[in-house]
Symmetry: C3
Subunit: 176 residues, 3 copies
């Protein structure tokens, strides 16, 4: 157990659980251990009558850079290693209470697609959502090829999920 995932119960908002990714030195890249902790926190919040809503969050300037790639390779290499990822995705999909997310800054890969399972997402104006699935030669994950077109229409979902276009689209910085 690490403190890479913080489970918070804000005093000012009884009934709310905040699941906060807290591995900022790695831009909140998500490991199997973190997936497992988030899955458990969701399951517990769903079962706890005192909890009425859950907020997924990250840190200032960084929601999540997505899967930890070193960890991801081990997931791909051995059977059974994906179980925490699958548990998290199942909890996202079957969560029965209002699920919100709060995003500031970097949101990559699963740091984008998990919001498609949320009832509402609040993003700061400096947030950039990007899913470089094609660059990594992987398919869109976490039900995003189903949910993306429902949320933003087929064409915009194609631009994001298949072409890897950032949203909002940022122009390359001008060379000095």
């Amino acid at each position: 157990m690490t403190d890479n995932i913080l489970i918070e119960r804000p005093e000012a908002h009884p009934g709310v659980t905040v699941i906060r990714m807290n591995r900022l030195d790695k831009k909140n890249a998500i490991t199997r251990d973190m997936y497992g902790q988030m899955a458990l926190a969701l399951a517990e919040a769903d079962a706890d009558d005192a909890i009425r809503a859950v907020v997924l969050s990250g840190g200032p300037g960084c929601f999540s850079s997505g899967n930890d790639l070193a960890d991801f390779i081990q997931i791909a290499a051995a059977e059974g290693e994906a179980k925490n990822v699958i548990a998290f995705l199942h909890e996202l999909a079957r969560f029965t209470k209002p699920l919100l997310s709060a995003v500031d800054g970097i949101a990559i890969g699963v740091g984008v697609t998990m919001h498609m399972h949320c009832d509402l997402t609040f993003a700061s104006t400096r947030t950039v959502f990007k899913t470089p699935f094609t660059d990594l030669a992987v398919v869109p994950e976490a039900g995003s090829s189903l949910l993306g077109p429902c949320i933003m229409g087929y064409q915009r979902a194609f631009a994001m999920l298949a072409m890897g276009r950032a949203s909002p689209r940022r122009r390359p910085a001008k060379p000095v």
Copy 2:
């Protein structure tokens, strides 16, 4: 029969029926009697070959504040009392001609959800749509939990129908 519902056939637009709510002293709160008259007007317009389109409308500054709550309690209290409401909703859903709506100002509850059955809604810039279902501890009505996500996407529909957020969102007025 009251004049709370006006059925208009504008001379300049032959072929158009305007169904206008006209109970402005009660902010166009809708009673069983008014539901019944609107249901009948829709059925007649649909059956009349001279009518090519119907417009649902209210008054200046007020489309409708939704169900008349005193009336609504009686509907809830006795079997059979909902028949006019149900008749109106059925007519909305099965109406076969272009159905439009014109909205200015207050639009609350069913004053919002009836537009989801319209082919087009024209709203003035000072219109505020709001569905306080959660505040009233009732579920979203009139097929809005199905139609809302189709029209505005799941997340915005959740904000409106489940959280009761006004659209467009108004900031609370500053205290003096």
Copy 3:
């Protein structure tokens, strides 16, 4: 065989086929012959492993004014005359590779609806999309009554496909 349809393989973009309508003296009105050539080009691009994406395009200021009406009358008049149109629509619907379109200026009728089959459409700011189906007393074509609501929501699709409203809506020019 005419040069009304140009099949281009841009040197700077190997793997891309551009199908360009090039009948600018008739505002790229599409004839049976042109439908047939475009259907063939799509089928060949889909079967050619060297081709990775196709772009549908027109000329400067004019994507397409839609069906050539003289030709369209002949299609309606005789059995079998629609076969090239149908072949084109089938190729659009079953095309398996990324299909893009580039639009500048006039886009009318099927010059609008073919984009609904594309994964992405890039349109210049001076493009106007318009489908005057009701004016011509024809029904929305090319699957647009299904795809339109998926892309832009039911109400906007109704405004475009049933009411023939241009998008973006242009005000009539002021009389001098």
